[in-house]
């Protein structure tokens, strides 16, 4: 594996007073060798990003390294001047960030922004800078480099932008590349390409790569070494093989245990219950008005879609970002006006219902949204928001409150929470409250639009279990929207695969996943990282460390 490029020893980064804890990172030590990919995993807030920023000397102003050293090629980063940092950054060490959409300056062409690296670190003539830049674009497999060179960031897709950032990072063959969740915002297919790029990089350039992620599949796909963090501390590190298959620390085990199994629970019998929801030819065309900015155009966000949902059935809808999943759901609930089609619930067509009737029809069909922070009104108490539905449908407030208490208990919270405000809850708790709120009006159908995507894996697992339990207990039908195939596999009976606004494949979960028909589905499944890794059966392992 060659020489050690980066050695972090006893790194502690203080948090400002009043933070969640005293140190963002505490007594952290790790090494990255040449040609080695080190993955840092851990739940949100565990200090992964802070570690990478500290290494780049890009820590936010409020945070300071209070002790420890960061040796990069023998020099201690923490003792260097700002000018010294600037000299290293971009040439010897480079970094890729999570958010490709905002990582590039909107005012300059991407060519210009890549060239800046050469400008800052070499005195190449302009012509050479340009040819080197074009070569780089080629290297990160951009189509038509001269065109891309002259493009502005907003003219590129997320995946393309992320590749521009990678091109910048690779421009001067750095010996260390730090990537902080570089693929989280991208869909699986793009993610697969970028991960592949990292692997090539390690091989051809011999660079050391520090990859921050919370996705164990990604770890399984590329990592040589794994560092597991919790609350700012390293709880376990070792080779990928060891950590993934024989985790020793309890926390690592908890994380791995929460990764949904790849196999569908095959056992569910075929559903013969009556149809509760029938969607027929539902379609949505957005008209982006002309004038401001672009010419007027139409976005066919949802091409005619038809499906049925039976009582007690869970229908998964999967597809990558932008494939029209949310559009489908929102049009179905008439949160946006559908352009065409029918939505039959209980013999009534939601698509044509007048507004007054629509209110009544919506009783039967409720939704839980993706963002646990945005779906509760911060200025109203939980109780007030829970009784909103029943009160609107004419139930006396007292009675509704009674019911709210009961439901809060069902989602395993204390009924004292009714007097509190949303900001007093964590994301997972909020999501449970949203579920409770949706159930208050006793719907027949529950729609969950990416209801668990924003949650940490362990919390995600809990919420999924709760949903399944409630579904079975109340005899609900469920529409479960997600881009995570593993999650879909875990909860659904049947699944619909969407691509570019179109349903490309449907069927029972097991048959779709094991025998995909449509090329897109196949592509999607193949792009899933960590194919070679199965979540180990943790119960067979020796007892965990503390």
């Amino acid at each position: 594996m060659g020489d050690t490029i980066l050695t972090i020893r006893g790194l502690t980064v203080d948090l400002p007073k009043g933070g969640d804890r005293a140190h963002a990172v505490q007594d952290l030590s790790l090494t990255v060798g040449a040609g080695e990919i080190v993955c840092i995993v851990g739940e949100s807030g565990s200090g992964k990003s802070i570690t990478s920023f500290a290494t780049m000397a890009l820590l936010p102003r409020a945070l300071n390294v209070s002790s420890g050293e960061i040796l990069f090629e023998g020099q201690d980063i923490t003792k260097m001047s700002e000018a010294g940092h600037a000299k290293l950054r971009g040439s010897r060490m480079a970094m890729i960030f999570q958010e490709p959409m905002t990582a590039l300056n909107p005012c300059y062409t991407v060519g210009d922004q890549i060239e800046e690296v050469f400008q800052a670190h070499t005195n190449m003539p302009k012509a050479e800078r340009k040819s080197r830049t074009l070569a780089l674009l080629e290297e990160v497999r951009m189509p038509d480099p001269p065109r891309i060179y002259a493009s502005f960031p907003h003219q590129l897709s997320g995946g393309q932008r992320q590749r521009i950032v990678i091109a910048m990072a690779l421009a001067l063959n750095p010996s260390l590349l730090i990537a902080d969740e570089p693929t989280t915002a991208l869909d699986v297919t793009t993610q697969a390409q970028i991960l592949a790029m990292f692997r090539t990089l390690r091989k051809t350039k011999g660079a050391g790569i520090m990859l921050v992620t919370h996705d164990f599949d990604v770890v399984a796909e590329v990592a040589d070494k794994v560092v597991v963090m919790q609350h700012g501390c390293v709880v376990e590190q070792g080779t990928a093989e060891e950590v993934l298959n024989r985790p020793r620390h309890a926390y690592t085990r908890q994380l791995i245990d929460a990764v949904p199994g790849r196999k569908a629970d095959a056992a569910r019998s075929e559903n013969r219950n009556p149809v509760v929801l029938a969607v027929d030819g539902l379609e949505k065309i957005y008209r982006v008005p002309a004038g401001f900015g672009r010419p007027g155009r139409e976005v066919h966000a949802l091409k005619p879609a038809s499906f049925e949902l039976r009582r007690g059935e869970t229908l998964g809808i999967v597809g990558e970002s932008g494939s029209g999943k949310s559009t489908l759901v929102r049009a179905m609930l008439r949160l946006i006006e559908p352009s065409a089609g029918k939505i039959i619930v209980d013999g009534h067509d939601i698509a044509r219902a007048p507004y007054s009737q629509l209110r009544m029809l919506r009783r039967d069909i409720q939704i839980v949204f993706q963002d646990p922070y945005g779906s509760l009104n911060p200025r109203r108490t939980i109780g007030d928001q829970l009784v909103e539905g029943p009160v609107n449908f004419g139930v006396p407030r007292r009675e509704a409150m009674e019911k709210a208490r009961e439901l809060v208990r069902i989602v395993r919270l204390d009924d004292e929470v009714l007097n509190r405000y949303p900001n007093q809850f964590s994301g997972g708790q909020r999501q449970r409250l949203c579920i409770a709120r949706a159930l208050m009006v006793e719907p027949k159908i529950l729609v969950a639009d990416e209801a668990v995507s924003a949650l940490d894996v362990s919390v995600q697992k809990e919420v999924l279990r709760l949903l399944a339990e409630i579904r079975d207990r109340m005899g609900l039908s469920m529409l479960f929207i997600t881009h995570d195939l593993r999650v879909a596999a875990q909860v659904s009976d049947n699944v619909i695969v969407m691509s570019k606004g179109e349903i490309v494949e449907r069927g029972a979960i097991a048959s779709v996943f094991h025998n995909p028909q449509h090329p897109y589905t196949r592509q999607l499944l193949e792009a899933m990282p960590g194919q070679g890794w199965e979540v180990p059966d943790l119960s067979t392992l020796p007892p965990a460390d503390a």
């Binding site: 609930l333 919506r362 009104n377």
Partner: protein
């Protein structure tokens, strides 16, 4: 962690109690409001009582006597009493004008932000028209055509200062509109009026209050400007702006005549502005800058 956090209201209170600007400006404003309310009790003289033989008496710090601590004006009226009563007029004009603007601007802004589409385009158009009209000029013209009673001056300003409310509340409402709790409320069968009242308005309230303070300050300054040009509140009503205007005749010689109301006006407007900033810090610390 969950039980330790406070409700939004309490959090605000806590932040307010630790916010120096809030306490300072709040105290100053509170004092001025109290002075305005209890003017009849506090003023040593009738503010309209002229004593022609006691004209232009200097204030105590310029060699005057304690009989007229802030001196007298060109009609021999006690400056202190006029200042105290003037607080009433200036505050009232500011409050009502800003209030009227707030109602207009909020209705337009919230409607535009919430309903979008055509409504939004119409409101944007109205905002543009309003911005294109020079405020001072139109206010002057209107006051000169309609006369300068306190009510007219206030209403004219009220009808002219709504643009910022509309712009800010439109943006804020748009943001709130896209929040999922609005969709959730729709799904729970809430009527639009209820959503606007219960979900939208409370969440744009902090913006509303901040703009309200800014526009109140703006209205007070604008009224002073109109008075200065001779087309604001008509004498003998004592607004601070009018007092400056009356005193400007003697600016070069008896400068306290404009310094006293000028400083009062400055302190008031300064306190209101600072209070607005403080409210923003307290209600929406993330929106600072």
């Amino acid at each position: 962690m969950t039980t330790a956090t406070l409700s939004p209201g309490r959090q605000m209170l806590k932040r307010a109690r630790h916010h120096r600007g809030f306490i300072l400006s709040g105290t100053v404003l509170g004092l001025i409001v109290l002075i305005a309310i209890f003017a009849p009790l506090l003023a040593p003289y009738d503010p309209y009582k002229q004593t022609l033989v006691a004209r232009l008496r200097p204030p105590v710090w310029l060699g005057g006597t304690w009989q007229y601590p802030f001196g007298t004006d060109a009609l021999g009226r006690d400056m202190l009493s006029r200042l105290i009563y003037g607080a009433r007029v200036s505050l009232m004009i500011g409050l009502i004008a800003a209030g009227v603007s707030a109602v207009i601007g909020t209705v337009l802004g919230v409607a535009a932000g919430y309903f979008g589409g055509k409504v939004d385009r119409v409101v944007m158009f109205l905002i543009n028209v309003r911005l294109a009209m020079p405020v001072i000029l139109v206010a002057l013209a209107a006051v000169s055509l309609l006369g300068g009673s306190v009510i007219i001056v206030t209403m004219v300003m009220g009808l002219l200062l709504w643009d910022r409310f509309a712009v800010v509340l439109r943006a804020a409402t748009m943001q709130v509109r896209s929040m999922e709790y609005i969709a959730a409320a729709e799904m729970l069968g809430a009527r639009q009026s209820r959503i606007l009242w219960k979900d939208v308005l409370p969440n744009v309230m902090s913006h509303l209050i901040v703009i309200l303070t800014l526009e109140m300050a703006h209205a007070i300054i604008l009224e002073a400007g109109l008075s200065f040009l001779g087309l604001g509140v008509q004498p003998p009503t004592a607004s601070w702006g009018l007092m400056i205007s009356e005193g400007k005749e003697m600016l070069l010689f008896d400068s306290w005549l404009i310094m006293v109301p000028g400083i009062a006006l400055f302190v008031l407007v300064f306190a209101i502005n600072m209070f607005g900033d403080a409210i923003r810090d307290v209600t929406a610390p993330e929106g600072r800058n």
